[in-house]
């Protein structure tokens, strides 16, 4: 398993300690989150926080509850217990509209693009919350409505340039190859100008070259726009390379939390990845 190899390969205890970046303030905090589906406990009493400007990875075997965690963060799932603090508000569950309008954007494990729409329209859709002109202006598509379209189009074009997807602007995204779809989905999330970007396995199913491109985009977004990133990824090499801190989930519980180096040396994490049988 590639994941295990990545873990072993760089797993030296004496690996040079990367200087942790200036820790920003806490922007998102999850406390004692519990989420179940019928009998299945997808998340079991998990707490962690995300600091401003960091790249925070969530890792763990399949079914560990990583995607469910992101779904709680942007309000798609409502946890049964626990609380979420964001933007100075503490709530028992996030509201999707509140999350979106307060700068939480995401991509999905199984691409969730608007397949019938062009790349451009997908990205423009990311900006609907920022567009204000009412129905009548839009019916005329003139004056303020047109100026607004042009302003947002200009912004979306900067993202198109950034992601190097100029040539597929007008292509319906359903016809694009998988790797490009992942890129367009990142573009749609970026179009929301998020303060926190949730990425659910952005590199799954990609070849090495595509992974490198995607890693570069993620790092650039983080550095250039100062976007805080929460990232789920299976490729250990990538995770260890680009993330500042890592949460490890296994069977819905948090088993480790720390810098990549700390996590790599954690015995529970090694066991989880090597498939040591669980006591329960």
């Amino acid at each position: 398993m590639a994941a295990v190899e990545g873990l072993q390969e760089d797993g030296h205890a004496d690996a040079a300690q990367a200087p942790a970046r200036d820790a920003g303030e806490i922007v998102l905090k999850l406390d004692n989150i519990e989420l179940g589906f019928g009998g299945v406990k997808a998340i079991n009493n998990v707490s962690f926080e995300v600091r401003k400007g960091e790249i925070r990875a969530i890792i763990g075997p399949n079914g560990a509850g990583k995607s469910s965690m992101l779904n709680c963060i942007n309000g798609f799932y409502k946890p049964q217990k626990g609380s979420i603090s964001f933007n100075g508000k503490t709530m028992s569950a996030m509201d999707p509209h509140f999350a979106a309008s307060n700068g939480i954007a995401r991509t999905f494990q199984n691409i969730a693009l608007f397949r019938g729409m062009s790349t451009l329209d997908n990205l423009m859709t990311g900006r609907v919350l920022k567009m204000r002109r009412g129905f009548l202006w839009q019916a005329l598509h003139w004056g303020p409505a047109q100026r607004e379209e042009i302003k947002h189009r200009a912004f979306v074009e900067t993202i198109i340039d950034f992601l190097e997807i100029q040539s597929i602007r007008r292509t319906p995204v359903g016809r694009l190859p998988y790797g490009l779809q992942k890129r367009v989905e990142l573009g749609r999330a970026l179009a929301m100008e998020p303060s926190i970007l949730l990425l659910d396995e952005p590199m799954a199913g990609m070849n090495v070259e595509e992974k490198q491109d995607m890693s570069r985009f993620i790092l650039d977004v983080n550095e250039e726009f100062g976007t805080t990133i929460v990232l789920i990824e299976h490729d250990m090499g990538v995770v260890m390379d680009i993330s500042d801190r890592v949460v490890v989930l296994d069977y819905g519980r948090k088993i480790a939390d720390g810098t990549p180096d700390e996590v790599r040396r954690n015995q529970d994490v090694i066991d989880a990845y090597l498939g040591v049988p669980h006591e329960d």
Partner: protein, 358 residues
Amino acid sequence: MFYREAGIFKTSYAADQALFRIPFDRIFVISVVLFAALVIPVIGNEYWLGSILIPTLIMAIATIGLNILLGYCGQLSLGTGAFMAAGAFMGYKIATAFPWMPIWAVVILGGICAAMIGVAFGLPSLRIKGFYLAVTTLAAQFFLLWLFQKVPWFVNYSISGVPTAPPREMFGYLVTGAEASVEARYLFILAFTVILALIAANLVRGRIGRTWMAIRDMDIAAELIGIKPLPTKLSAFAVSSFYCGVAGVLWAFCYINTVEATAFDIFRSFTVLFMVIIGGLGSILGCFLGAFFIFLLPIFLNSAPGWVGLEVPTELISHVEFMVFGALIVFFLIVEPHGLARLWAITKEKLRLWPFPY
């Protein structure tokens, strides 16, 4: 060679976002509209204007309405006929209650009443989807028609139950009712068709249209982007029913010249649905292609054997008609859901390369 986009460079986003990005398209559409407005009324006879163009244009308006709901927002409705009836009956009530009101305002108010009724029947769309939503709208179809037939208030207690459309003037010409000239009625309808098609095209390429399509393509992702599903779906129901309502008023006032529920039965709903499917889901141009196709095909089938000197019994022709429609609908549903509009787009791609297809 004439139809091309090479060499046309957009120098602004405004130009790139224009309704017709290729000058040829713009010139073509403007020419068609001018031809329809200036030449056709002169050269068209009573039959072509009154029995073909008028109903086709009205049905095209209803088709745009259903296409907004189904093609753009992904919500299936079988209640198109009922929403048209709502427009027709409310238009009648308004026109008779306020005889001084300009007829264009009556048409628009009829559409607005239909929009409100459409929103009411769109409410279940938050919870139910696809087939089940279709069944709900089917209930609207039967309930509303029953209501209009059973409650005499809607027809001002007319003894026959089928009142005639009130005659109304615009710019000094009668445009509604049986006495109005066919040219005046045609131009009145054409004006509505052009303006409503333009508004629809503007809506679908702007923010509202994108929210509709986002709900259609992936409602979960749309919601997480901040699009609220219920207001978005209801806005599609409202706009869609408005178009159907306007079509209903025009149908009653300018085409059949009577206000009667039977004109808007379930077959009307299905005809509009077929026009959407054959014309192309999610295309405004397709609405016109679909409407014309469905109106002209039977006429073509009836006269084509005559052109080659064949005598075919009319009964056989009507059977052939059903078979051809059935086959076409299956074809478009399975092979080309984007309908005639997509076939037209493919032809244009070919034209762009012509005569050097490499």
